[in-house]
Symmetry: C2
Subunit: 273 residues, 2 copies
Protein backbone atom coordinates (compact mmCIF):
# COMPACT_ATOMS: atom_id res chain seq x y z
CA UNK A 1 0.00 0.00 0.00
CA UNK A 2 1.33 3.44 -0.88
CA UNK A 3 0.57 6.81 0.69
CA UNK A 4 1.51 9.96 -1.20
CA UNK A 5 1.59 13.58 -0.14
CA UNK A 6 0.82 15.94 -3.00
CA UNK A 7 1.54 19.66 -3.05
CA UNK A 8 -0.37 21.69 -5.62
CA UNK A 9 2.58 23.97 -6.30
CA UNK A 10 0.52 25.92 -8.83
CA UNK A 11 -2.96 25.16 -10.24
CA UNK A 12 -1.21 23.08 -12.93
CA UNK A 13 1.96 21.68 -11.30
CA UNK A 14 2.11 19.09 -8.51
CA UNK A 15 4.92 17.56 -6.50
CA UNK A 16 4.21 14.09 -5.11
CA UNK A 17 6.27 12.57 -2.31
CA UNK A 18 5.79 9.03 -1.04
CA UNK A 19 5.12 9.11 2.69
CA UNK A 20 6.06 6.49 5.27
CA UNK A 21 4.01 8.02 8.08
CA UNK A 22 2.31 11.16 9.26
CA UNK A 23 3.78 12.17 12.61
CA UNK A 24 1.74 15.26 13.43
CA UNK A 25 -1.17 17.11 11.88
CA UNK A 26 -3.00 20.02 13.51
CA UNK A 27 -4.49 23.46 13.00
CA UNK A 28 -2.45 26.15 14.73
CA UNK A 29 -3.93 29.64 15.31
CA UNK A 30 -2.35 30.63 11.98
CA UNK A 31 -2.19 27.65 9.65
CA UNK A 32 -2.42 23.91 9.12
CA UNK A 33 0.79 22.18 10.19
CA UNK A 34 1.89 18.67 9.23
CA UNK A 35 5.02 16.67 9.93
CA UNK A 36 5.50 13.57 7.79
CA UNK A 37 8.27 11.12 7.06
CA UNK A 38 9.00 10.89 3.31
CA UNK A 39 10.97 8.22 1.47
CA UNK A 40 12.93 10.59 -0.73
CA UNK A 41 13.65 13.57 1.49
CA UNK A 42 13.27 12.30 5.06
CA UNK A 43 11.21 14.18 7.61
CA UNK A 44 9.20 17.06 6.17
CA UNK A 45 7.39 20.12 7.57
CA UNK A 46 4.30 21.26 5.64
CA UNK A 47 2.33 24.48 6.30
CA UNK A 48 -1.02 25.02 4.59
CA UNK A 49 -0.15 22.30 2.06
CA UNK A 50 3.22 23.79 1.05
CA UNK A 51 6.49 22.01 1.83
CA UNK A 52 8.55 24.27 4.10
CA UNK A 53 11.54 22.13 4.82
CA UNK A 54 12.81 18.56 4.58
CA UNK A 55 15.72 17.05 6.44
CA UNK A 56 17.43 16.11 3.16
CA UNK A 57 17.38 19.44 1.31
CA UNK A 58 16.93 22.09 4.04
CA UNK A 59 20.66 22.82 4.03
CA UNK A 60 20.45 24.61 0.70
CA UNK A 61 17.81 27.12 1.73
CA UNK A 62 19.16 27.72 5.23
CA UNK A 63 22.77 28.12 4.18
CA UNK A 64 21.97 30.40 1.27
CA UNK A 65 19.54 32.69 3.10
CA UNK A 66 22.01 33.10 5.98
CA UNK A 67 25.65 32.93 4.90
CA UNK A 68 25.24 35.22 1.90
CA UNK A 69 24.09 38.32 3.84
CA UNK A 70 26.33 37.50 6.83
CA UNK A 71 29.40 37.33 4.59
CA UNK A 72 28.42 40.54 2.77
CA UNK A 73 28.10 42.56 5.99
CA UNK A 74 31.62 43.54 7.13
CA UNK A 75 31.14 42.63 10.80
CA UNK A 76 27.70 41.21 11.66
CA UNK A 77 26.94 41.08 15.38
CA UNK A 78 23.18 41.53 15.76
CA UNK A 79 20.79 39.68 13.49
CA UNK A 80 17.05 39.27 13.11
CA UNK A 81 15.22 36.43 11.38
CA UNK A 82 11.54 36.91 10.54
CA UNK A 83 9.76 33.58 10.18
CA UNK A 84 12.09 30.60 10.10
CA UNK A 85 10.56 28.98 13.18
CA UNK A 86 12.17 25.64 12.31
CA UNK A 87 15.49 27.15 13.43
CA UNK A 88 17.55 26.29 10.33
CA UNK A 89 18.61 29.88 9.67
CA UNK A 90 19.53 30.32 13.36
CA UNK A 91 21.71 27.22 13.22
CA UNK A 92 23.62 28.60 10.22
CA UNK A 93 23.90 32.12 11.66
CA UNK A 94 25.55 30.86 14.85
CA UNK A 95 28.36 29.36 12.77
CA UNK A 96 29.64 32.96 12.46
CA UNK A 97 31.71 33.81 15.56
CA UNK A 98 31.05 37.55 15.13
CA UNK A 99 27.30 37.05 15.60
CA UNK A 100 26.53 37.79 19.25
CA UNK A 101 22.76 37.77 19.15
CA UNK A 102 20.13 36.28 16.85
CA UNK A 103 16.50 37.27 17.30
CA UNK A 104 14.14 34.69 15.80
CA UNK A 105 10.71 36.24 15.29
CA UNK A 106 8.21 33.53 14.42
CA UNK A 107 4.52 34.42 14.55
CA UNK A 108 3.41 30.81 15.11
CA UNK A 109 4.68 29.31 18.39
CA UNK A 110 3.47 25.90 17.21
CA UNK A 111 6.08 25.91 14.43
CA UNK A 112 8.84 26.40 16.99
CA UNK A 113 7.35 23.77 19.30
CA UNK A 114 7.00 21.09 16.61
CA UNK A 115 10.43 21.91 15.15
CA UNK A 116 12.01 21.24 18.54
CA UNK A 117 10.07 18.01 18.80
CA UNK A 118 10.45 16.59 15.29
CA UNK A 119 13.46 18.35 13.74
CA UNK A 120 16.23 18.29 16.34
CA UNK A 121 18.94 18.59 13.66
CA UNK A 122 17.37 21.81 12.35
CA UNK A 123 16.21 23.44 15.61
CA UNK A 124 19.44 22.53 17.40
CA UNK A 125 20.47 26.13 18.22
CA UNK A 126 17.09 27.49 19.34
CA UNK A 127 18.09 27.11 22.99
CA UNK A 128 21.57 28.55 22.49
CA UNK A 129 22.17 31.55 24.81
CA UNK A 130 22.97 33.68 21.70
CA UNK A 131 19.43 32.98 20.38
CA UNK A 132 16.33 34.86 21.49
CA UNK A 133 13.03 33.46 20.26
CA UNK A 134 10.10 35.90 20.00
CA UNK A 135 6.77 34.32 19.12
CA UNK A 136 5.18 37.49 17.82
CA UNK A 137 4.29 39.33 14.62
CA UNK A 138 7.46 40.05 12.61
CA UNK A 139 6.07 43.27 11.13
CA UNK A 140 5.44 44.70 14.62
CA UNK A 141 8.78 43.46 15.91
CA UNK A 142 10.73 45.05 13.07
CA UNK A 143 8.99 48.41 13.70
CA UNK A 144 10.56 48.67 17.15
CA UNK A 145 13.91 47.01 16.43
CA UNK A 146 17.06 49.12 15.96
CA UNK A 147 20.73 48.72 15.04
CA UNK A 148 20.55 45.26 13.51
CA UNK A 149 23.34 44.34 11.13
CA UNK A 150 21.49 41.68 9.13
CA UNK A 151 17.79 40.92 8.79
CA UNK A 152 16.60 37.75 7.06
CA UNK A 153 12.99 37.26 5.95
CA UNK A 154 12.55 33.49 6.02
CA UNK A 155 8.82 33.60 5.29
CA UNK A 156 6.19 31.37 3.79
CA UNK A 157 4.70 32.26 0.39
CA UNK A 158 2.96 35.63 0.01
CA UNK A 159 -0.43 34.27 1.06
CA UNK A 160 -1.84 33.93 4.57
CA UNK A 161 0.20 35.27 7.50
CA UNK A 162 3.16 36.31 5.31
CA UNK A 163 1.40 38.79 2.98
CA UNK A 164 2.60 41.86 4.86
CA UNK A 165 6.22 40.73 4.56
CA UNK A 166 6.10 41.40 0.81
CA UNK A 167 4.98 45.07 1.03
CA UNK A 168 7.16 48.17 0.47
CA UNK A 169 6.12 49.56 3.90
CA UNK A 170 7.71 46.51 5.48
CA UNK A 171 10.97 47.05 3.60
CA UNK A 172 11.02 50.65 4.92
CA UNK A 173 10.65 49.33 8.47
CA UNK A 174 13.49 46.91 7.81
CA UNK A 175 15.73 49.70 6.52
CA UNK A 176 14.91 51.71 9.66
CA UNK A 177 15.82 48.81 11.97
CA UNK A 178 19.17 48.21 10.27
CA UNK A 179 22.41 49.99 11.12
CA UNK A 180 24.47 52.00 8.63
CA UNK A 181 25.92 49.00 6.83
CA UNK A 182 22.79 46.89 7.22
CA UNK A 183 21.85 44.09 4.83
CA UNK A 184 18.52 42.31 4.41
CA UNK A 185 17.57 39.19 2.47
CA UNK A 186 14.08 37.88 1.70
CA UNK A 187 13.13 34.63 0.03
CA UNK A 188 11.37 35.66 -3.19
CA UNK A 189 9.98 32.49 -4.84
CA UNK A 190 10.68 30.79 -8.19
CA UNK A 191 11.73 32.68 -11.33
CA UNK A 192 10.05 30.02 -13.47
CA UNK A 193 6.68 29.82 -11.70
CA UNK A 194 6.28 33.12 -9.81
CA UNK A 195 8.22 35.76 -11.71
CA UNK A 196 5.71 38.42 -10.60
CA UNK A 197 6.65 37.87 -6.95
CA UNK A 198 10.33 38.48 -7.76
CA UNK A 199 9.39 41.66 -9.60
CA UNK A 200 7.26 42.82 -6.66
CA UNK A 201 10.00 42.18 -4.11
CA UNK A 202 12.78 43.72 -6.20
CA UNK A 203 10.70 46.80 -7.01
CA UNK A 204 9.64 47.14 -3.38
CA UNK A 205 13.20 46.93 -2.07
CA UNK A 206 14.48 49.34 -4.74
CA UNK A 207 12.26 52.07 -3.28
CA UNK A 208 14.18 51.73 -0.01
CA UNK A 209 17.69 50.30 -0.52
CA UNK A 210 20.47 51.78 -2.70
CA UNK A 211 21.73 48.26 -3.52
CA UNK A 212 19.31 45.49 -4.52
CA UNK A 213 20.53 42.18 -5.97
CA UNK A 214 18.93 38.81 -6.71
CA UNK A 215 20.64 35.47 -6.16
CA UNK A 216 19.57 31.89 -6.82
CA UNK A 217 19.86 28.38 -5.43
CA UNK A 218 18.56 24.90 -6.27
CA UNK A 219 15.98 23.56 -3.79
CA UNK A 220 14.31 20.37 -5.07
CA UNK A 221 11.21 20.41 -2.87
CA UNK A 222 10.27 24.01 -3.71
CA UNK A 223 8.22 24.75 -6.85
CA UNK A 224 10.37 24.35 -10.00
CA UNK A 225 13.38 23.45 -7.84
CA UNK A 226 14.95 26.88 -8.47
CA UNK A 227 14.64 29.57 -5.84
CA UNK A 228 15.39 33.27 -5.60
CA UNK A 229 16.55 35.44 -2.72
CA UNK A 230 16.47 39.22 -2.91
CA UNK A 231 19.16 41.15 -1.08
CA UNK A 232 18.81 44.80 -0.07
CA UNK A 233 21.85 46.62 1.27
CA UNK A 234 22.45 50.06 2.70
CA UNK A 235 26.04 49.96 1.45
CA UNK A 236 27.98 46.68 1.42
CA UNK A 237 28.15 45.10 -2.03
CA UNK A 238 28.09 41.43 -2.96
CA UNK A 239 31.59 40.28 -3.90
CA UNK A 240 34.20 37.66 -3.08
CA UNK A 241 33.78 36.04 0.34
CA UNK A 242 36.39 36.97 2.96
CA UNK A 243 38.02 33.57 3.20
CA UNK A 244 39.30 34.25 6.71
CA UNK A 245 35.65 34.30 7.81
CA UNK A 246 34.55 31.23 5.82
CA UNK A 247 35.78 28.75 8.39
CA UNK A 248 32.59 26.74 8.94
CA UNK A 249 31.31 23.49 7.45
CA UNK A 250 28.61 23.72 4.79
CA UNK A 251 26.97 21.39 2.28
CA UNK A 252 25.87 23.92 -0.38
CA UNK A 253 27.45 27.33 0.27
CA UNK A 254 31.08 27.73 -0.74
CA UNK A 255 33.09 30.90 -1.46
CA UNK A 256 32.69 30.12 -5.20
CA UNK A 257 28.92 29.60 -4.86
CA UNK A 258 28.73 32.87 -2.88
CA UNK A 259 29.68 34.72 -6.06
CA UNK A 260 28.20 32.36 -8.64
CA UNK A 261 24.71 32.58 -7.11
CA UNK A 262 24.50 36.21 -8.27
CA UNK A 263 25.08 35.25 -11.93
CA UNK A 264 21.54 35.36 -13.30
CA UNK A 265 20.21 33.49 -16.32
CA UNK A 266 19.24 35.90 -19.08
CA UNK A 267 15.49 35.44 -18.52
CA UNK A 268 15.93 36.37 -14.85
CA UNK A 269 18.02 39.42 -15.73
CA UNK A 270 15.22 40.44 -18.07
CA UNK A 271 12.62 40.01 -15.30
CA UNK A 272 14.19 42.57 -13.00
CA UNK A 273 15.63 45.04 -15.53
CA UNK B 1 -12.74 17.86 -15.50
CA UNK B 2 -8.98 17.67 -15.06
CA UNK B 3 -6.40 15.45 -16.77
CA UNK B 4 -2.96 15.11 -15.22
CA UNK B 5 0.23 13.58 -16.57
CA UNK B 6 2.39 12.10 -13.81
CA UNK B 7 6.05 11.19 -14.12
CA UNK B 8 7.40 8.80 -11.51
CA UNK B 9 10.75 10.57 -11.35
CA UNK B 10 11.96 8.07 -8.76
CA UNK B 11 10.01 5.35 -6.89
CA UNK B 12 9.16 8.01 -4.27
CA UNK B 13 9.00 11.34 -6.16
CA UNK B 14 6.40 12.36 -8.74
CA UNK B 15 5.93 15.39 -10.95
CA UNK B 16 2.34 16.11 -11.98
CA UNK B 17 1.49 18.39 -14.88
CA UNK B 18 -2.05 19.36 -15.83
CA UNK B 19 -2.70 18.43 -19.43
CA UNK B 20 -4.97 20.21 -21.92
CA UNK B 21 -4.75 17.51 -24.57
CA UNK B 22 -2.75 14.53 -25.78
CA UNK B 23 -1.62 15.19 -29.33
CA UNK B 24 0.21 11.99 -30.14
CA UNK B 25 0.87 8.70 -28.41
CA UNK B 26 2.55 5.69 -30.03
CA UNK B 27 5.12 2.93 -29.62
CA UNK B 28 8.18 3.51 -31.78
CA UNK B 29 10.66 0.65 -32.42
CA UNK B 30 12.60 1.92 -29.37
CA UNK B 31 10.26 3.50 -26.84
CA UNK B 32 6.82 4.90 -26.03
CA UNK B 33 6.47 8.45 -27.34
CA UNK B 34 3.87 11.00 -26.25
CA UNK B 35 3.26 14.62 -27.17
CA UNK B 36 0.91 16.51 -24.86
CA UNK B 37 -0.09 20.10 -24.28
CA UNK B 38 0.45 21.15 -20.65
CA UNK B 39 -0.95 24.18 -18.84
CA UNK B 40 2.26 25.12 -17.07
CA UNK B 41 5.00 24.36 -19.59
CA UNK B 42 3.28 24.28 -22.97
CA UNK B 43 3.82 21.43 -25.39
CA UNK B 44 5.79 18.51 -23.96
CA UNK B 45 7.64 15.49 -25.37
CA UNK B 46 7.62 12.36 -23.17
CA UNK B 47 9.63 9.17 -23.84
CA UNK B 48 8.93 6.04 -21.78
CA UNK B 49 7.15 8.16 -19.19
CA UNK B 50 10.00 10.66 -18.69
CA UNK B 51 9.63 14.32 -19.71
CA UNK B 52 12.27 15.05 -22.38
CA UNK B 53 11.47 18.60 -23.28
CA UNK B 54 8.80 21.26 -22.92
CA UNK B 55 8.42 24.40 -24.98
CA UNK B 56 8.65 26.59 -21.86
CA UNK B 57 11.85 25.27 -20.28
CA UNK B 58 13.75 23.56 -23.11
CA UNK B 59 15.93 26.62 -23.58
CA UNK B 60 17.86 25.91 -20.39
CA UNK B 61 18.92 22.41 -21.31
CA UNK B 62 19.62 23.11 -24.96
CA UNK B 63 21.59 26.30 -24.38
CA UNK B 64 23.66 24.83 -21.57
CA UNK B 65 24.52 21.52 -23.28
CA UNK B 66 25.56 23.36 -26.45
CA UNK B 67 27.05 26.80 -25.78
CA UNK B 68 29.29 25.69 -22.92
CA UNK B 69 31.39 23.21 -24.96
CA UNK B 70 31.23 25.35 -28.11
CA UNK B 71 32.60 28.38 -26.23
CA UNK B 72 35.31 26.28 -24.55
CA UNK B 73 36.62 24.89 -27.86
CA UNK B 74 38.82 27.57 -29.45
CA UNK B 75 37.36 27.24 -32.97
CA UNK B 76 34.59 24.65 -33.32
CA UNK B 77 33.72 23.75 -36.91
CA UNK B 78 32.54 20.13 -36.88
CA UNK B 79 30.15 18.93 -34.24
CA UNK B 80 28.28 15.74 -33.39
CA UNK B 81 25.16 15.41 -31.26
CA UNK B 82 24.17 11.94 -30.03
CA UNK B 83 20.46 11.77 -29.22
CA UNK B 84 18.75 15.14 -29.20
CA UNK B 85 16.29 14.20 -31.93
CA UNK B 86 14.06 17.13 -31.02
CA UNK B 87 16.64 19.42 -32.64
CA UNK B 88 17.08 21.86 -29.74
CA UNK B 89 20.83 21.36 -29.47
CA UNK B 90 21.19 21.73 -33.25
CA UNK B 91 19.29 25.02 -33.14
CA UNK B 92 21.67 26.40 -30.51
CA UNK B 93 24.80 25.05 -32.23
CA UNK B 94 23.96 26.84 -35.48
CA UNK B 95 24.01 30.17 -33.64
CA UNK B 96 27.82 29.83 -33.75
CA UNK B 97 29.09 31.11 -37.11
CA UNK B 98 32.25 28.97 -36.89
CA UNK B 99 30.19 25.76 -36.88
CA UNK B 100 30.12 24.47 -40.46
CA UNK B 101 28.56 21.08 -39.93
CA UNK B 102 26.41 19.50 -37.22
CA UNK B 103 25.75 15.77 -37.31
CA UNK B 104 22.63 14.83 -35.37
CA UNK B 105 22.69 11.12 -34.59
CA UNK B 106 19.30 10.06 -33.24
CA UNK B 107 18.56 6.34 -33.01
CA UNK B 108 14.78 6.82 -33.16
CA UNK B 109 13.56 8.36 -36.44
CA UNK B 110 10.11 8.79 -34.87
CA UNK B 111 11.52 11.35 -32.42
CA UNK B 112 12.79 13.45 -35.32
CA UNK B 113 9.55 13.03 -37.24
CA UNK B 114 7.31 14.04 -34.35
CA UNK B 115 9.61 16.90 -33.36
CA UNK B 116 9.27 18.36 -36.84
CA UNK B 117 5.50 17.96 -36.63
CA UNK B 118 4.79 19.16 -33.09
CA UNK B 119 7.81 21.23 -32.03
CA UNK B 120 8.61 23.57 -34.93
CA UNK B 121 10.29 26.10 -32.60
CA UNK B 122 12.71 23.44 -31.38
CA UNK B 123 13.32 21.45 -34.58
CA UNK B 124 13.63 24.62 -36.68
CA UNK B 125 17.21 23.97 -37.87
CA UNK B 126 16.92 20.27 -38.69
CA UNK B 127 16.56 21.06 -42.38
CA UNK B 128 19.36 23.64 -42.40
CA UNK B 129 22.04 22.74 -44.98
CA UNK B 130 24.67 22.81 -42.18
CA UNK B 131 22.73 20.00 -40.40
CA UNK B 132 23.03 16.32 -41.28
CA UNK B 133 20.55 14.01 -39.57
CA UNK B 134 21.58 10.36 -39.15
CA UNK B 135 18.88 8.07 -37.77
CA UNK B 136 21.24 5.41 -36.54
CA UNK B 137 22.91 4.07 -33.40
CA UNK B 138 25.09 6.77 -31.82
CA UNK B 139 27.60 4.28 -30.43
CA UNK B 140 28.23 2.85 -33.91
CA UNK B 141 28.32 6.29 -35.50
CA UNK B 142 30.90 7.61 -33.02
CA UNK B 143 33.15 4.57 -33.69
CA UNK B 144 33.63 5.60 -37.32
CA UNK B 145 33.60 9.41 -36.88
CA UNK B 146 36.85 11.38 -36.93
CA UNK B 147 38.11 14.94 -36.42
CA UNK B 148 35.09 16.34 -34.63
CA UNK B 149 35.69 19.44 -32.52
CA UNK B 150 32.75 19.04 -30.14
CA UNK B 151 30.58 16.05 -29.31
CA UNK B 152 27.42 16.43 -27.23
CA UNK B 153 25.61 13.46 -25.68
CA UNK B 154 22.03 14.63 -25.43
CA UNK B 155 20.67 11.29 -24.27
CA UNK B 156 17.74 9.95 -22.31
CA UNK B 157 18.33 8.49 -18.84
CA UNK B 158 20.71 5.52 -18.51
CA UNK B 159 17.96 2.96 -19.05
CA UNK B 160 16.67 1.54 -22.35
CA UNK B 161 18.37 2.63 -25.58
CA UNK B 162 20.78 5.04 -23.83
CA UNK B 163 22.56 2.57 -21.49
CA UNK B 164 25.63 2.21 -23.72
CA UNK B 165 26.14 6.00 -23.77
CA UNK B 166 27.13 5.90 -20.08
CA UNK B 167 29.94 3.30 -20.43
CA UNK B 168 33.71 4.01 -20.35
CA UNK B 169 34.14 2.22 -23.73
CA UNK B 170 31.86 4.83 -25.26
CA UNK B 171 33.91 7.69 -23.82
CA UNK B 172 37.03 6.13 -25.39
CA UNK B 173 35.27 6.07 -28.77
CA UNK B 174 34.33 9.71 -28.27
CA UNK B 175 37.94 10.66 -27.45
CA UNK B 176 39.04 8.84 -30.62
CA UNK B 177 36.53 10.70 -32.79
CA UNK B 178 37.58 14.12 -31.46
CA UNK B 179 40.41 16.23 -32.84
CA UNK B 180 43.35 17.43 -30.74
CA UNK B 181 41.44 20.16 -28.92
CA UNK B 182 38.21 18.18 -28.77
CA UNK B 183 35.58 18.69 -26.10
CA UNK B 184 32.63 16.46 -25.16
CA UNK B 185 29.65 17.07 -22.89
CA UNK B 186 27.13 14.52 -21.63
CA UNK B 187 24.00 15.14 -19.62
CA UNK B 188 24.57 13.37 -16.31
CA UNK B 189 21.32 13.57 -14.27
CA UNK B 190 20.46 15.17 -10.92
CA UNK B 191 22.97 15.56 -8.09
CA UNK B 192 20.12 15.32 -5.57
CA UNK B 193 18.35 12.23 -6.91
CA UNK B 194 20.94 10.34 -8.98
CA UNK B 195 24.36 11.11 -7.51
CA UNK B 196 25.61 7.64 -8.50
CA UNK B 197 25.07 8.45 -12.20
CA UNK B 198 27.22 11.56 -11.86
CA UNK B 199 29.92 9.53 -10.17
CA UNK B 200 29.76 6.89 -12.92
CA UNK B 201 30.00 9.47 -15.72
CA UNK B 202 32.78 11.48 -14.09
CA UNK B 203 34.80 8.36 -13.26
CA UNK B 204 34.26 7.00 -16.77
CA UNK B 205 35.39 10.20 -18.46
CA UNK B 206 38.40 10.54 -16.14
CA UNK B 207 39.79 7.26 -17.53
CA UNK B 208 39.90 8.89 -20.96
CA UNK B 209 40.10 12.71 -20.76
CA UNK B 210 42.81 14.77 -19.03
CA UNK B 211 40.26 17.45 -18.12
CA UNK B 212 36.87 16.52 -16.64
CA UNK B 213 34.54 19.12 -15.12
CA UNK B 214 30.93 19.15 -13.94
CA UNK B 215 28.55 22.04 -14.45
CA UNK B 216 24.96 22.65 -13.40
CA UNK B 217 21.72 24.26 -14.55
CA UNK B 218 18.14 24.63 -13.31
CA UNK B 219 15.59 22.66 -15.37
CA UNK B 220 12.17 22.60 -13.67
CA UNK B 221 10.67 19.60 -15.49
CA UNK B 222 13.65 17.30 -14.81
CA UNK B 223 13.84 15.37 -11.52
CA UNK B 224 14.71 17.74 -8.61
CA UNK B 225 14.91 20.68 -11.04
CA UNK B 226 18.71 20.71 -10.86
CA UNK B 227 20.72 19.08 -13.61
CA UNK B 228 24.33 18.19 -14.22
CA UNK B 229 26.44 18.09 -17.35
CA UNK B 230 29.85 16.45 -17.44
CA UNK B 231 32.49 17.93 -19.72
CA UNK B 232 35.52 16.03 -20.95
CA UNK B 233 38.26 17.90 -22.75
CA UNK B 234 41.48 16.88 -24.50
CA UNK B 235 42.98 20.26 -23.65
CA UNK B 236 40.83 23.40 -23.61
CA UNK B 237 39.86 24.46 -20.10
CA UNK B 238 36.63 26.04 -18.91
CA UNK B 239 37.14 29.75 -18.33
CA UNK B 240 35.73 33.14 -19.24
CA UNK B 241 33.70 33.19 -22.45
CA UNK B 242 35.31 34.94 -25.41
CA UNK B 243 32.88 37.85 -25.60
CA UNK B 244 33.60 38.47 -29.28
CA UNK B 245 32.03 35.05 -29.93
CA UNK B 246 29.03 35.49 -27.61
CA UNK B 247 26.99 37.45 -30.12
CA UNK B 248 23.80 35.39 -30.13
CA UNK B 249 20.51 35.71 -28.28
CA UNK B 250 19.93 33.37 -25.35
CA UNK B 251 17.46 33.07 -22.49
CA UNK B 252 19.58 31.21 -19.92
CA UNK B 253 23.25 31.15 -20.99
CA UNK B 254 25.22 34.34 -20.47
CA UNK B 255 29.00 34.88 -20.21
CA UNK B 256 28.57 35.12 -16.41
CA UNK B 257 26.49 31.91 -16.26
CA UNK B 258 29.15 30.22 -18.45
CA UNK B 259 31.58 30.54 -15.54
CA UNK B 260 29.14 30.38 -12.63
CA UNK B 261 27.72 27.01 -13.77
CA UNK B 262 31.06 25.38 -12.85
CA UNK B 263 30.85 26.59 -9.23
CA UNK B 264 29.65 23.46 -7.48
CA UNK B 265 27.78 23.26 -4.17
CA UNK B 266 29.88 21.57 -1.51
CA UNK B 267 27.85 18.34 -1.60
CA UNK B 268 28.43 18.07 -5.35
CA UNK B 269 32.18 18.74 -4.96
CA UNK B 270 32.22 15.96 -2.38
CA UNK B 271 30.43 13.58 -4.78
CA UNK B 272 33.13 13.73 -7.43
CA UNK B 273 36.22 14.21 -5.28
Amino acid sequence: MEVWFTENQTPSVRLGLKVKSILHQAMTPYQELMVAETDAYGRMLVLDGAVQTTVMDEFVYHEMITHVPLMIHPHPQRMGIIGGGDGGAVREALKHPSVEQVHLVEIDAEVVRQAKRYFPEISVELDNPRTQVHCTDGIEWVRQARDLDVLVVDSTDPVGPAVGLFQPEFYQSVADCLGEEGVMVAQSESPFLEPEVIQMVVQGMRTVFPVVRLYLAAIPTYPSGFWSFTLGSKGPLPGPADLSRAKFATRYWTPAIHEAAFALPQFVEDLIR
